[in-house]
């Protein structure tokens, strides 16, 4: 019997202070027969830092929101086996339900194994699927692998949802001996962090999935394109590739077979459009990340114009499981046309924010309310944004929509890569639409006119609306522009850039109209449209507001009601925050 303490150290755990907890624990365990190990992210980000106590492989207790001052009690508990001293830190059954309602395949080892140790990954089954494929007696041919993936119904998790087997097969069939397998870990959608978590917490699962892909299409080189903002992911992946090479899973004649494959990491340099597969290839070749016209598709002519296959991190993270458990087991989960599970990054105004992996076919309501615990701080649900800058907002009336590629697309949003940003009634939908157009206008690579100029014009119209300068006809003008950009743009960035505008117009048109016609922001967000006033009944004439007003717009004698001069007011809201009597109102 041996006991072990595991400290969750993904980027978010570290930001919450997990390093400090681990270094405080270390001296307390000196000379004791207890191991202190690092694990990745279990996905319960709102409870970080998280410390797990194990006896052999059995989880004794999960302690949450741990701070360095708790470490003495934790060390004591694990040494003596008496957990009463840490009872206060134990996760509540309610919070634990966040995990028990999930079905984890891509995330199966996240937060459980040590991402910096290949031994730990192997104990959890890493490299057994590739071992089976390459075994001399009952191995699988590349065609067998592709067939198994076809049966599973696995579709790309990077956004478009294209069947994985089809892409693999096209690359396999393409002429030529030099082929490449590329993993898209650019994860540009703001608000999404599933891929980061997988790489930081379980890099060997990604490597194994890529090895299987490389074997299936006949590639001799595999490249992971990781965004530069993920330094920890890059570090752990480098370490994992090193260990896998030492162990004979990467390089020449892998596991004694005649399959050889090299691995390489390429760090991105900060450009959202490089998540688009052809732009990513340009960037890999050391060029500006400008998309290419398709066809030809990468399967025919990709990296250095050789047949190439690109998949997302989460897509690869499912592959080894499918080989081990069979395509049918994966296809048994989900809906008619969406199989298996999907990981979502649940964030925004949600009570329990983190990583959620669920079988396709669950409803949005189940994910947001049952698993995520609903809206935090007593707010009311207003919308959920899915698919980031290419997606849309889904309103409360459609919360019973099931998670499925087609059903979500019908709402005007998309499945996307898995960002799920929840908004409450304090979020202004017009300014959300503007937020996304600011983003796409900035990230447009400039190659095609529709995207470069179209997104800019949309951004300008939205800016004038939130600044109170909206005009009659703006909504119609935006709709016309949106259609033109969607139809005329070269790549997915431009083609989908209008989605955030179209979907908010579809469900929240009244909010646009209030901004344009009544110069009013119903959720009190757009500063230019806020009107502050002082209620003379409640004002005691304490002068706090007048003294704090940065532009001296408030006048009034001591102990008499004060007044705001509307033409001088800059709508900063300072008076409202300093008033102790609740006399300042906003409309």
């Amino acid at each position: 019997m041996s006991r072990r303490i595991a400290v969750g150290q993904g980027s978010c755990g570290i930001a919450a202070g997990a390093h400090k907890v681990a270094s405080a624990l270390l001296p307390l365990l000196a000379g004791k027969d207890i191991t202190l190990s690092t694990v990745g992210c279990i996905g319960m980000c709102w409870l970080e830092p998280i410390v797990d106590l194990y006896e052999d492989d059995r989880l004794l207790a999960r302690l949450v929101k741990v701070q360095p001052q708790h470490t003495a009690a934790i060390a004591e508990a694990v040494i003596t086996g008496d957990l009463s001293g840490v009872a206060d830190l134990m996760i509540t059954p309610e919070d634990n339900a966040f995990l028990t309602q999930q079905t984890r395949i891509a995330l199966r080892n996240c937060g459980i194994i040590d991402p910096e140790s290949i031994e730990s990954a192997k104990q959890a089954g890493a490299y057994s699927a590739i071992g089976r494929i390459l075994s001399a007696e009952n191995g699988m041919t590349p065609e067998d692998v592709i067939e198994c993936i076809k049966v599973s119904g696995l579709a790309g998790r990077g956004g478009a949802g294209f069947p994985t087997w089809f892409k693999w097969n096209a690359a396999r069939q393409a002429a030529g001996d030099e082929k490449y397998l590329i993993c898209n870990a650019d994860e540009g959608d703001p608000g999404a962090f599933m891929d980061r978590a997988v790489i930081e917490s379980d890099p060997h699962t990604l490597i194994e999935g890529m090895l299987i892909g490389a074997y299936a299409i006949g590639a001799q080189e595999a490249i992971v394109y990781v965004r530069a903002e993920y330094p920890l992911a890059i570090k752990r992946l480098e370490q994992a590739i090193f260990e896998a090479r030492e162990a004979g899973y990467i390089g020449k004649n892998i596991m004694g077979s005649d399959f050889s494959c090299e691995f390489r990491i390429k760090a991105g340099a900060g450009a959202f459009v490089c998540g688009e597969e052809t732009a990513l290839i340009e960037s890999l070749q050391g060029q500006r990340g400008m998309p290419r016209l398709k066809p030809p598709f990468p399967a025919q002519s990709g990296y250095w114009n050789k047949p190439s296959n690109i998949n997302n991190v989460e897509t690869f993270a499912n592959v080894a499981w499918i080989i081990t458990n069979g395509g049918e087991a994966f296809a048994a989960m989900g809906t008619e046309d969406s199989k298996g599970t999907k990981v979502f990054a649940l964030t925004g105004k949600i009570r329990r924010g983190g990583l959620v992996e669920i079988p396709m076919g669950m409803t949005l309501r189940q994910v947001i309310f049952d698993i995520g615990g609903g809206i935090r701080d007593g707010g009311t649900f207003k919308a959920v944004q899915m698919g980031g800058p290419s997606g849309g907002c889904i309103p409360a009336s459609l919360l019973d929509t099931v998670i499925d590629y087609k059903k979500l697309a019908a709402t005007g949003a998309i499945m996307g890569s898995g960002g799920m940003v929840v908004m409450d009634d304090s979020t202004c939908m017009v300014s959300m639409a503007k937020f996304f157009l600011d983003f796409t206008a900035k990230e447009s690579c400039g190659k095609c006119v529709h995207c470069r100029i179209g997104t800019k014009r949309l951004q300008e119209i939205l800016t004038r609306i939130v600044e109170g300068e909206g005009q009659d006809g703006d909504i119609e003008l935006m709709e016309e522009l949106c259609n033109a950009v969607r139809d005329g743009a070269l790549c997915g960035l431009g083609q989908t850039a209008p989605n955030p505008v179209l979907s908010t117009l579809r469900y929240f048109r009244a909010e646009f109209e209030a901004h344009i016609r009544e110069k009013r922001c119903p959720s009190h967000t757009c500063t230019a449209l806020l009107h502050y006033a002082i209620d003379p009944e409640k004002c005691r004439g304490c002068t706090a507001c007048a003294r704090n007003c940065p532009v001296y717009a408030i006048s009034g004698a001591v102990r008499e009601a004060h007044e705001i001069a509307p033409e001088a007011c800059i709508h900063c809201g300072k008076c409202m925050t300093v008033c102790k009597f609740g006399a300042v109102t906003v409309q």
Binding site: A16, G191, A269, G270, A345, T347, G353, F435
Partner: protein
């Protein structure tokens, strides 16, 4: 071999190991620029000319690639680079208030550096810690669940530490 482009006075010999590893590997321009930025903190123009010469590219193409990507900087940055996230999750959770607090306290614009050269401030999209939003990074450390008060505390801590040195 040394480059002739010495309009500025960066120590170009520091680039030699980088060239030794990558100059002949096709498609390595971005990697070389990343290493150069690590060495100099930004990309001085003499360094860019030197890279062009040694990789056989035109300076225009090297500038073209470097300016395409937000990671590359053409001005020196402060000792502490504050990257404040304004991704979707952080935006919804009030990153604008944090930005205002930083700007008011340090008197810097987005993309600017304080007069004492201590802090540079830049607003970015998504650091991948969305569940702790609003989030910022200062050099390699990530800070989550920010409030205007907390962010001032963090900045003051750094200033105090620097003053003590």
């Amino acid at each position: 071999m040394n480059c002739e482009c010495s309009r500025q006075h960066s120590d170009l010999s520091l680039l030699e190991p980088v060239f030794a590893e990558y100059a002949d590997v096709k498609g390595s321009l971005i990697t070389i620029l990343q290493h150069a930025q690590e060495i100099y903190g930004y990309l001085p123009s003499d360094v860019i000319y030197c890279i062009a010469e040694r990789t056989g590219e035109t300076p225009a193409r090297v500038f073209g690639v470097a300016t395409f990507y937000t990671q590359f900087r053409f001005q020196p940055v402060g000792k502490y680079l504050i990257m404040l996230c304004d991704g979707t999750a952080c935006h919804v959770n009030g990153s604008a208030r944090i930005a205002a607090a930083v700007q008011e306290y340090l008197h810097v614009e987005n993309g600017g550096t304080t007069e004492d050269g201590l802090f540079s401030f830049s607003i970015v999209a998504c650091l991948g810690c969305c569940s702790l939003s609003p989030v910022m990074m200062i050099n390699d450390s990530t800070y989550g669940s920010l409030t205007p008060e907390l962010v001032l505390e963090i900045l003051k801590d750094i200033q105090a530490k620097e003053a003590a040195e």
